[in-house]
């Protein structure tokens, strides 16, 4: 006879599971089903299932440009976050305990402030009448304001600022497991600082770089507030396009189809990246 089944774990996880179902799974299913119905001009949704919305997304040059821009942006932001976040995490982990506490507050502090507020801050800095342009003009380095608002560069800069803490945290977690004497060992064998970083430290924190990279990539590809404030209508990305389809054109099915495509691409890229990196660096993942 089997011992009586212990139901307690199921009861204890039930609230969480229900929450996830109600607020994550259900909206996704609804979005997916919405994307499979036709749009009736005037703002209604038809009742015949169709893949016309997906066909639109696949055929229309307009959407291709937006998707290409979105993922180029996400990849660039991810790379910049790696470039900035890994050395930052390394420096932080080597600070004395007191300075480390101060630095953590500085690094994570921005995360306590709403993304919208932080992005508006960037708007103040980047605008034609903004702080940076005033300084540049005042110092005589340029004759007319450098255009940064509503540009690709502007959005990338603001997104990197928003997302770099995620990279720092993830890499930091990996650095905790790093045996610092491996760096000394490499030094004793004749490796200089850059070689130690490139050949010894970086490969050992690959798991952190990967998880940080996946988080940053997914958040950058689906970021809404920053691209909509800095990029505006002139520099549309997929999330802002979805917003416009839903609330501007009232074309809910097309918006839903765009959302589904975005989710699928992010998932496929993340999983592919995960598989590739884990296989390539399998020794540091065990």
């Amino acid at each position: 006879m089997n011992p009586p089944r212990n139901w307690l774990p199921y009861w204890l996880t039930a609230p969480g599971v229900l929450m996830a179902l109600a607020f994550v799974a259900l909206p996704l299913v609804i979005t997916l089903s919405l994307s499979l119905y036709p749009f009736l001009p005037g703002g209604g949704v038809g009742d015949q299932m169709t893949i016309a919305n997906f066909a639109d997304v696949a055929r229309d040059e307009y959407f291709h440009v937006i998707f290409a821009r979105t993922f180029a942006m996400a990849i660039l932001v991810t790379l910049l976050c790696i470039l900035i976040g890994v050395p930052e995490a390394y420096v932080l982990s080597r600070l004395s305990a007191r300075w480390r506490t101060v630095s953590i507050v500085i690094v994570l502090g921005p995360m306590l402030i709403s993304v919208v507020v932080r992005t508006l801050g960037w708007a103040v800095l980047l605008g034609n009448e903004g702080v940076i342009n005033k300084l540049l003009l005042g110092s005589g380095l340029v004759n007319e304001p450098v255009k940064m608002m509503f540009t690709f560069t502007g959005v990338v800069v603001a997104l990197v600022h928003v997302l770099v803490p995620f990279m720092v945290l993830a890499v930091w977690a990996s650095l905790q497991k790093l045996d610092a004497t491996t760096e000394q060992a490499a030094q004793s064998l004749g490796a200089g600082l850059t070689t130690v970083m490139r050949r010894i430290v970086f490969p050992q924190v690959i798991p952190g770089v990967l998880s940080g990279g996946l988080i940053v990539f997914a958040l950058a590809a689906s970021a809404f507030a920053t691209p909509s404030i800095i990029g505006g209508r002139r520099l549309k990305v997929v999330p802002t396009t979805i917003y416009d389809e839903f609330l501007g054109n009232l074309n809910w099915p097309l918006g839903a189809a765009l959302a589904v495509v975005l989710v699928v691409i992010v998932l496929v890229v993340s999983m592919g990246m995960n598989r590739f990196v884990e296989r390539r660096y399998k020794q540091v993942f065990q």
């Binding site: 004497t181 491996t182 000394q184 030094q187 004793s188 004749g190």
Partner: protein
């Protein structure tokens, strides 16, 4: 001629003296052990030689060249760390090849030298494994091979046996000794294990509280410790305080006249007899009498604790298969004069 020389090397952390003006010269090909309890400054000294800790004062000469301010990656010394510090993301062969790669050795010759070094430590078959796939002993050999592959002028070992179990440690000690003889590399090892130091070293540097207490060959140092610390850290000893103003063949301890081989020494002294130098004796020839308060069997020898008017004494006898004194027996004890040493009494309190 000394090959590696430490001249008044010291390290202070604020007001704390980690290493106080340490002088030592090591000959080419010599195996020297820095021995001492934890916190005695032995590891700090090694780290200063390696270049990872900046000395507060003094200097380091390698083959006549001052390397005190040379960066660790320019010193070219081979180092084996306590944790081995193998690169987990590289194969055994890549670990060993790393130093050669840094020196720009072309890949063909590099492979040859890696193979040869791995053969040296009997790990030829493990070249393509990763560190995590190896046992503790194998990892230690990889660390050793990695340090030796660059053919360093000096090999530094920081408690290399610390992570091994007792049986493996003994095997590795013998192997390390043989390897060091074969390669002939000048070696400095840090350890807190006196048996390990005596097994491996040509010369032992005994350190305590940041200073060198005594330097000598293991046998000499064991037989002629220069103080209470040396006698009790390196092996066991029965130590009694005594004072005398005149030289002579005997010394008075708690009212007993005891013989000594150190006829010349006078002043505030300590009288030291090693446990294995004491034997049971018939009444007439006994120097002191007592009662066996404890008897412990340790396989190859017996350990006795005897309460005497001098205090509790420990003695050990080889297990020769003969019956031994029992607990509670009244026994006489005797030792040869040359086995009883007189050393100056340590002025500092609290020396163990």
């Amino acid at each position: 001629m000394s090959f590696l020389e430490l001249k008044g090397l010291s390290k202070h952390y604020g007001n704390v003296v980690a290493v106080a003006a340490c002088d030592l010269s090591v000959a080419k090909g010599e195996f020297v052990c820095l021995l001492g309890p934890s916190g005695c400054g032995k590891t700090t000294t090694l780290q200063m030689v390696a270049g990872f800790v900046e000395p507060t004062g003094g200097g380091i000469l390698l083959d006549g060249v001052d390397i005190t301010n040379v960066k660790p990656d320019q010193r070219g010394l081979g180092i084996v760390f306590q944790s081995y510090a193998l690169f987990p993301h590289m194969t055994v062969a890549d670990n060993v090849a790393f130093g050669l790669e840094m020196r720009g050795v072309p890949s063909g010759e590099r492979r040859k030298r890696v193979d040869a070094t791995l053969e040296l430590v009997h790990l030829g078959a493990m070249a393509s494994r990763y560190p995590r796939e190896l046992s503790g002993g194998q990892r230690q050999r990889v660390a050793l091979a990695r340090a030796l592959a660059i053919q360093p002028p000096v090999l530094l070992l920081d408690e290399p046996m610390g992570a091994l179990d007792a049986k493996l440690r003994e095997e590795m000690q013998i192997e390390l000794r043989a390897l060091q003889h074969r390669v002939g590399v000048t070696t400095i090892m840090v350890t807190h294990d006196q048996a390990e130091a005596m097994t491996l070293a040509d010369r032992v540097v005994l350190m305590n509280k940041g200073s060198i207490e005594q330097v000598g060959k293991p046998f000499e140092m064991y037989e002629r410790p220069n103080g209470r610390f040396a006698s009790t850290f390196l092996g066991k000893a029965n130590v009694f305080e005594t004072t005398r103003a005149q030289s002579g063949a005997t010394v008075e301890v708690s009212g007993y006249r005891l013989p000594t081989g150190d006829a010349e020494r006078i002043g505030e002294l300590e009288y030291i007899v090693r446990p294995e130098k004491i034997e049971f004796a018939a009444d007439a020839s006994a120097l002191v009498k007592g009662r066996v308060s404890a008897r412990v069997f340790l396989g190859n020898h017996w350990l006795f604790q005897v309460d005497t008017p001098l205090g509790t004494m420990q003695l050990t006898h080889a297990n020769t298969g003969l019956p031994q004194a029992n607990e509670g027996d009244e026994v006489g004890l005797r030792w040869a004069p040359e086995n009883a040493r007189l050393v100056p009494r340590a002025s500092a309190a609290g020396v163990a």
